[in-house]
Amino acid sequence: MPQSATTANAAEPGSRERKPPAIAARGICKSFATQVLRNVDLRIAAGSIHGLVGENGAGKSTLAKIMVGLEQPDSGSLSLAGAAYQPRSTSESLKAGVALCTQELSLIDDLSIADNLLLPASSAARPRGRARIRRKLAHQYAMQSLARVGLEHASPAMRVGRLSLAEKQLVEVARALATGAALLVLDEPTSALTAPQADRLHEILREQANAGVAVIYVSHRLGDVLEVCDHISVLRDGEVRLTSSSDELSEAILIREMAGVDADLEASERNAVAALPVHLSVQELRTAELPHPISFECRWGEILGIAGLAGSGRTELLRAIFGLDKRLGGVVRLHVDGTWVELHSTRQAIRGGVGLVAEDRASDGVFRDQGLAFNVTVAGLRRIAGRVGRLIRSRETSAVGALVRELRVKSDGIDQPMRTLSGGNQQRAMLGRWLHCDAKLLLLDEPTRGVDVAAKLAIHEELVRLRDAGRSIVAVSSELDELASLCDRIIVLSNRKLVREFQRSELHQEDILAAAFSEYA
């Protein structure tokens, strides 16, 4: 452990007088499928801006959600200005004077700006106990709130749906400010803002802090964090690794702390894959979500990793290759049976032997109320069908049975409803879906998300086995050690651009992280 980490537990920002901190967290633990927060201690003084940084999945957003009652900790406690604080919902936390401004915008597109600003129960234009909104007051109130964040030109009557993403983000900030909260929690507040807009926001935050408000500032933009915050805490694997005054920190130190001590990633004994023939070629690919053309190749029998922060365009890249999102330019070609095939649609991709396992299994993967067999065969129904699309049950039974054995899916028979399977078994079934289609190229988005540690290792083994059997894999992951232990090569996306490529021999966690953060400056 680096020496700086020893200061982590003695988190004592602001050597202010003995006044209780605006918010203090003690021993917060939280688990979903895996442990997300371990024994987090944090004290944030009134009148200070406190930065929270860390890799994807380090626990920043979960901690922010716990502070406003969107999640409940498994153990540990919070106190607000010295008094116990146990929010169960955002309406409770708002009453206590804590407001959150989220990454996922929580504005309602079909309502006007003014109506959106009035949604929090404690708004000034809606005095307690009064359900009726007074139009004139609301209008005035909205004008004031908007002026504060530099949106004077916007009319309060305008529908939020017509605003740009940056404007929406500012409205969201305006709404949080307008609640008059004593603690503001901002999760990636500048992700869509231009530099002048971000500067304006930072000025506002400083004004707020000077007026005694405590601010928690979660961001990927390390430069911003260093500039704006008084103190910064680094989270890694759900633990606070470092809390320090920002004067004593630099981007390099933050990246080192986020990456951890084991910065040299464990490399497996695989040889270079440069000699293998190309399987997938992506040239100058562009979509609405990926404005900068992206080109790369994946070779036969290779596991290619895609690293990058959440929102860096990784998921969008896989979707574009698979023909799910509309392309604005570029070519995706696949080498099948000695010839090149251009891919334009999902059906073509599947026919060419490509399969995609989506990040959000619940929404883009499983049919939860249908059986295991249904879920496995759904993308390759022709393979179990006779003439005129008649399904042959015995073929389905034997095909699914073989895959269940091969992938070691645990179930009470092939018609067990999918929702009753564990996350790991569901994920194996998703792999089975594409093996059923005999896919040669697997596009995997966070292949071990939401599965427990043992299942994760088993899935890793499975992927290596599939690769060794001659398939190619493109895997997106937020976990650098996962990429390092699996991949032959890694490409890094940062802010929707492809910024770097790493060969297996040159994998260093710090370099990968530095690349992933590079376009957010």
């Binding site: 799910l324 991709a349 995609l356 109320d369 993308a379 399904l391 409803p417």
Partner: protein, 317 residues
Amino acid sequence: MTAKPTARIVRLFEDNLIFLSLIGIVAFFGLASDRFLSLTTLSTLLNQLPALTVVAIGMTLVLISGAIDLSVGSVLALCAGVVGGCMTLFGMPLPLAAGIGILAGALAGLANGSLGAYLRLPIFIVTLGMLEVARGLAYLVTDSQTVYLGARVQSFAVPIWGIGVSASFLTALALVIAFEYLLRSTVFGRQIVAVGSNESAAEVSGIDPKRVRCTVLVISGALAGLGGLMNASYLGSADPNAGVGMELSAIAAAVIGGTSLMGGRGSVVGAFIGVLIVSVLQIGLAQIGITEPTKRVITGAVIILAVILDRWRADSR
């Protein structure tokens, strides 16, 4: 497979709940009225069923795909009117007129499908609009009059000598079996369930949800067209007021039969039993002297009860 015998019996009971309910209802009316268990009742029942049955088949497929079709009752009347017009105005033989009538229904379904699936308009509203459009067209083609057709069309609906049921009923029964098979055992059936169960996962699996929904709405329209033919042959005339409110009876039958309004789950045979339950209630309640208002209250309560039972069954899994 490894379940205890008692658990298996419970499971068997649960799986066939609606069929058992139907038997229970029949038994109740059999005891309550000495005229109920007779061949006359059975024949009345079976010969008035076909139109609702075929419409309910289409509705079930539409609901399973995660859409809804409110236009079926009006489309049925429109197609009856088209069949009548073809026969009286142009003197076409029945098979040709019937073909054109069914085609008209399919076209109405295609309009629903294209607007709903491809232009992404809310299908509820699109088919609600079609409900008005088709009803209006039905009045236009019949000049707002019931078109008398007589024996030319009734052959389809009269009981066949020796079996006691009509060709119309046999057709409906065959379609129930055919569409149940389509749903359970064909690629297209699986695709319908997949789209209704999780549209975006279906898309990732290479299924085109728009095409599937559009096709299902065309089928529903065509079946409503067939329903129009059946209705016209039953009445011996094309009535522009036919099928008013039939969309609700069809939805009720599908739901009683275990079809989910959220999509992804349902059964055509179940919907047929739903049609039987609704019809048996109508006839049985009338025979034991229940008045029309009370009949409606009871029928409505039965629909809600069916949903409660279905929810309970789904939760107990």
